[in-house]
C-alpha cells in the first residue's frame, strides 16, 4: 500500500504540473476567433551555413502556416536577405525600411483582435545597454521593436525572438495582449540558438498538440520548443547555452515553465494561428436540423470541460481515490458528449 501511495504521489505531482499547464491550455481556450497575420524576419546571416538555416526555418514556417494552419499566403510576410532564392516567398530584405513597410502592410490588413505573429530568426546581440536584432544595414534595437509592436495595439501580438541575447525583451517589451517569447533567459546568453528550428517544428508535427484538440497554440509551441532545446543539449552532452522564456501577463517577468503559479501562459494558451472563425464555422458542415441539439451539446461540453478543469485545480486538496472517481465520471460524460457532437457534425 505504501508503495502504491508513493507511486500515486509521484504521479500526482507530475500530473499537477502537467495539469496546471493544461489548465491554461483549456480554460483560456476557445476556438481561434481571430485571423492570423505573420511577419517572419530572418536576420543578416553573415555566413553561408546560417543563411541556409534561416532560409530553411523561414520557408518552413511560411509553409506550415499556409498549408496546415490555413493562413492566407498574402497575410504572411517573409523578409530574407536574398530575395532571389524565391521571389514569390520573400516580401523584401531584412532592412529597417522594409521592416517598417511590412509592419504598415500588416497593420492595415489586420483587424482588432487579430493575431499578429512576428518571428525573428537568427542573430541578435547585446551591447551592454540594448538588445539588437541584426538586420542588413542598421540593426533593429529593442526600442525599434517596441515601436513595431505599438502599431498593433488593437491586436493580440506574439513576438518570437529566436535569437541570442533576447531574454531582456520579455522585460522591455511586455505589455497587454502581448506574448513575448525569447530563446534565451537573459542578454548574457550570446551563443547561437536552436530554439527557432524547434518552434517551427512545433507547428509542423502534431506532437506539440499536447491537449489533442487538433490545434497547436502558442503556449504548446513554446513548451514543445523548450523541451526540444533541453533534449538537444542533453543528447550532445553539452552545457545548455540557451534557456527560453515566455511572458504574457504584462508584468515583465518571463517564465521558463508558464503555469498558474507564475501567471504566464494564459494568453499564449488561447492564441492559435489560423484562418479566422468564419472559415472554421464554414468548415463545420453540420446539418441544419441538428443545430439546436448541437448548440446544447456544445454548451454541455463547455460546462463539463470547465468542471474537469475545476476538479484538476482542486486535486491537491482531495483524496486521490475521490479525485480519480470524479475525474472518470466527468471524462466519461465528456467522451459521450464529444462522441455525439462528432456524429452530428459528420457531413451527410
Amino acid at each position: 500500500m505504501r508503495r502504491m501511495e508513493k507511486k500515486q504521489k509521484t504521479l500526482r505531482s507530475r500530473l499537477c504540473s502537467a495539469g496546471l499547464a493544461a489548465f491554461w491550455l483549456v480554460t483560456a481556450g476557445s476556438l481561434f476567433a481571430q485571423s492570423t497575420h505573420a511577419l517572419i524576419v530572418a536576420s543578416a546571416s553573415g555566413e553561408e551555413q546560417f543563411k541556409e538555416q534561416f532560409w530553411d526555418w523561414g520557408t518552413r514556417l511560411e509553409r506550415v502556416l499556409t498549408q496546415q494552419m490555413r493562413v492566407p499566403k498574402e497575410d504572411i510576410l517573409f523578409l530574407f536577405e536574398d530575395p532571389s532564392k524565391d521571389a514569390s516567398s520573400v516580401f523584401g530584405k531584412p532592412t529597417k525600411s522594409e521592416l517598417t513597410r511590412a509592419a504598415e502592410k500588416l497593420g492595415s490588413a489586420s483587424k482588432e483582435g487579430d493575431l499578429v505573429l512576428i518571428v525573428l530568426l537568427g542573430h541578435g546581440s547585446y551591447d551592454g545597454t540594448t538588445y539588437k536584432f541584426n538586420l542588413v544595414g542598421p540593426d533593429a534595437t529593442a526600442a525599434d521593436l517596441e515601436q513595431l509592436l505599438n502599431r498593433f495595439s488593437r491586436q493580440q501580438v506574439v513576438l518570437v525572438a529566436a535569437t541570442p541575447c533576447s531574454g531582456g525583451l520579455t522585460r522591455t517589451l511586455a505589455g497587454k495582449n502581448r506574448v513575448i517569447m525569447a530563446a534565451t533567459k537573459s542578454e548574457m546568453e550570446n551563443n547561437q540558438t536552436v530554439f527557432g528550428g524547434f518552434f517551427v517544428e512545433a507547428f509542423e508535427n502534431q506532437v506539440a498538440d499536447a491537449d489533442k484538440n487538433g490545434r497547436v497554440s502558442m503556449l504548446e509551441a513554446y513548451l514543445y520548443s523548450r523541451k526540444k532545446v533541453e533534449d538537444y543539449y542533453k543528447e550532445r552532452q553539452k552545457l545548455a547555452t540557451e534557456h527560453a522564456l515566455l511572458e504574457d501577463d504584462g508584468n515583465g517577468r518571463g517564465s521558463s515553465i508558464p503555469s498558474a503559479q507564475t501567471g504566464d501562459g494564459l494568453l499564449a494558451g488561447r492564441l492559435v494561428p489560423g484562418p479566422g472563425v468564419e472559415t472554421v464555422v464554414a468548415a463545420a458542415g453540420a446539418a441544419p436540423g441538428n443545430q439546436k441539439e448541437l448548440r446544447e451539446l456544445q454548451a454541455a461540453k463547455k460546462k463539463v470541460e470547465a468542471d474537469i478543469e475545476a476538479l484538476k485545480y482542486r486535486k491537491s486538496t482531495m483524496e486521490d481515490a475521490e479525485y480519480q472517481k470524479n475525474l472518470e465520471k466527468l471524462l466519461l460524460e465528456l467522451a459521450r458528449t464529444d462522441g455525439r457532437i462528432r456524429e452530428l457534425e459528420k457531413p451527410k
Binding site: L15, A210, D211, K212, E305, L332, G339
Partner: protein, 900 residues
Amino acid sequence: MKGYSPARRRVHQPDSAGRKDPSALSALFSGPSRLILPLLAFCLVLVLVVASRQAASLADTPEAAQQLSSKGQYAEALAAYEQLAEASDSSKETKIELLRLLQLTGKYARAEEVASKYLQATPDPVFSLWLGKARRAQGKYADAEAAFRTAARSQNDIRDEAAMDLGLLLKETGRLDESHAEFQRLFDRVASNSAKLGVAAVALENLEQFQDANTAFRQATEANSKDVDTWHAWGRLFLEKYDKANATSVFEDALKAAPNHPDSLVGLALSLSEEDGERSHELIEKALGVNPNLIDARLLLAEAAIEAEVFDEAAAEIQKALQVNPNSPEVHSWKAVLHSGKRQPSELEQEIQAVLKVNPHYGQLYENLATYAVTQRFYQQAVDYFRKALELNPRLWSAYSGLGINLLRLGDEAAAKEALETSYANDRFNVWTVNTLRLIDSFENFDTIEVPDFRIRLNKKESAILRLYVPDLLHQALDTLSTKYAYRPKTPLYLEMFPDHEDFAVRTLGLPGLGALGVCFGPGMVMDSPSARPKGGFHWGSTLWHEFTHVITLGMTDNKVPRWFSEGLSVMEEHQARPGWGDNITLEAIQAMQEKKLLPIAELTAGFQRPRFPGQVQLSYFQAGQACEFIDKEFGFPAILTMLKGFKEGQSLPAVLTSALQLSPQEFDKRFNDYLQSRFGPALRSVDLELLKDKNAEKSPEKLEAVLASHPDSFFANLKLGGYYVEQKQPDKAVPYLEKAKSLFPAYDQPDSPYRQLAEIYKAQNNLAGAIAELEALVAVNAGDFEALKQLGQWLKESGKPDRALPVLENALYVYPFDADIHKLLAEVGSSQGKLEVALREYQAVLALDAADPASAHFNVASVLFQLGRRSEAKQQVLSALEIAPGFQPAQELLLKLSQ
C-alpha cells in the same frame, strides 16, 4: 635548510718557471733580431692568456666550482671541490660543499669517509650532521642516529637541521612517538625564526599540520628561492597529498633553482608518472645519471617493472637499491611486493620480517602490498592488507582511504563509509577520500533494483528507462557466459551505472579523469550510463557484456588471470555476443600493425599497465582481443579454458602456452602475426595513411587518379575519389570507387564510410533495397552506429519488413535508450508483429522519457494494455491521457470501450 654561502674569491697566479737572463733578453731588442722580441712577447702573452683560461676551466676556485654546481654540472663540480678541499687551507664551506656534492651524487661511503676525517680533524657539529646523512643513506641507522644526536647538541644553527634529520630517522625506524616529540621540540624552537621557515615547514608536515606546513614552505621559498631542499620537501608534501599539479610546478621551480638536482628530477618524474610515462622515465634516467645510488629512482623503476610483470628487471633495480642501503624498510617493502607478484609466499614473509626488524610500525609495507593487490584485482586481499597496515600504524590515514575504497568495491558500503570518514577526519587533503565520500552521499539519488542474481543501482532520473533493458541483458550475459565457461559466479552480483562520467571515475579510482567506460571489481561492475556520453557515443550493451566477461574470468581464476588475457577475452566475447558489437579495427591499429608496434605476448600486460605512447592502451585492447580470437579459431575454445585453468593454478605464461597450445611465447608471436596478416592483409596493404596527410591530394581528383594509376588498390584513393564524385553529384561515377573501397577494407566504419555514402546514393535513386543492404552491412561491422541503426530501422519498417526492423531497433537501444523516436518505432513494429509485450515495454519507455506528448504516450500504453486484456491498468492509463487532453478523441473512444 642552509643556503649556499659563496666561497672567497681567489686569483689564479701563473707559474713563474721560464724566467730568462736579462742580458739575453736585451739582446732580443737590438740588431736585426729586434722584431723577434715583440713577436716573442706577443706569443708569450698569447700563451699566458690561453694558459690562464685553461686554468680557469678546471674550476680551481670555489666560485668557479660553485658555478658548475649551480648549473647542475655536479660531476665537474665534485671533481673541482675534491681538488679544492685537498688544499690545506681549504675553507669549511668548501668542505661542506664537497660533502653535499658527495651526498647528492650518491657517493655515500665516500661522504662518510670524508666526514669522519673532517670530524676527526675538527669536531665541528656540521661534520657530524653530514656524517649522519651519509650513514643514514647507507642504512647504518644506529650510527647515523648517534651522529645526528651529536650535531643536535650543538648550540649553533646546525642543531636544527640535525634535529630534523634525527626526527626523520626516528620515523624511518618506527619510533613514531619519539619522532613526533623531536619535531615538536624543533618546531617550538624555530617557529618564530623567519630564517628557519624551511625547517619549520618540515616539522609541521611531520606533526600532520599540513596547511601550516604548506604556508611555511611557500614563505620559505619566497624568502630563498635557491633553497632546493625546501622546494623539494614542498613538492613531496604535494605528492603526499595527491596534488600532482602543484607538485609538478614546485619540482619545476626546484629544478630552476638547482638544474639536474636528482631528487627533484625524481620528484618531477613521480608527479608526471601517470600522465606522461615516457617523460617520467626519462627524468628517472637523468636522475640516475647524476646519482646512480638514488634509491627513490631505483624503486620507481622497480615499481613500474612489477606492474608490467617484468619481474627480473624489478629484482635488478631492488638489488641495486639494497646494495646502497641493505636495511631500508622501503626497499624491503618493495621486495615484498615483488615476491607477492611472483607468488613466492615464503620469500614474501622473509621480506616482511626484514622490514619489521628495522621498523616494526612500517604500515606502508602492507599498504604497498595492498596497492599492488588492487592492480591485480585481489580486492579482498587488498582489504586484508590495509587492515594489517593499520594494525602496525593506526595513524596511516591513507590506508583508511584505501581500505574504504576497496570495501566499497566489494559491496560493503557501511564499512567503507566508516573507514573513509576516519580518513577524512584526519587527512582532508586526500582527494580519493573526499571524492569517494561525496560519491557515497550521492547514492541517495539512485534507485536500487533487486532482481534475481543482481542488485542494480541506477540514477533516479533514468532508472525508469534503464530498468526495462538492463536486467534482461544481465541475465542473458549470466546464462550465456556461465554456460560457455562452465562457471557460475556467486550471486548476487552488483551493477552500478553512472550518468555522470566523473562519478564513475571516482567510483573506480577515487579520482575523476578515467578514460574507461566500465570496470569490474569481481563481485560487481561499474560503468557509464548511456547518458554519460553524447548520444551514440558508446555501446552500453557491449560494455556491459565486456565487464560481465571479466566477472567470469576473474572469478574462475581467483583473479589470477593476466590482464591481457582477461581483457582479450572480454573483447572477444563482445564480438561474439552480437554482430557488430565490440570495437572495430581502427586506423591506429592498422598503422601499428604496419609499423610493427604490437607487443610480444609476454609484454602485452605492460601495454595496459604502463603504456609508452599515446594510444597504446587502446591498441593493447585490440591486440589482446585478436590474440584471444586467434586462439579460439586456431586451437578451439577448450584451449582457452585450459589456459584459464593454468593461470588459476599459478602457472607462468610460457607454461600455460606450452600446456594449452604447445607453443612457446616466441612461437605464439610468430603464429599470431601470421594470423593477423592473413586476417587483415588486404587492409594492411591497401590502407595508405600517408595519403591522408596530403590534404590537397584528398580534394584533387587528378591527384587521386594518379595515385590509383600506380596503386589501384589504394583504399583512401578509392574512398576519397568516390566521395569527390558524391559531392559533385555524380553518383554513377562515385559508386565503382566506393564499392572498391568497401571490398578493400570492409571494416571501415567512419562517418565517410563507403557503406554510408552508398546508402545515401541508393536512397536518392529510390533504390531502398540497395540502401538498406548498405546499412545492414555497416551495422554488421559496427552496431554502435546509432544513427545508422535508427535509419535502417525506419527504412525496414517503410519497406514492410518489420521482422527485420525489430532486432535492428532493439540493437539501437543498446547504444542509446533515451531516444523517444526509436521506442515509438519499435513499439509500432512490435505491435504490427503482434509482439504486444514489446509494444507495451516500448510505449512505457516513451512515457518514462517524459515525452513531449504525454497524452499520446499514456494513450498508447493504454491501447496495448487493453489488447493484452489488462483492463484496469488500461483504464488508469487512458484516464491519465484524458486528464492532460480531455478532448483527445481516440482516448475518449477507448475509455468508452473500457466502461462498457
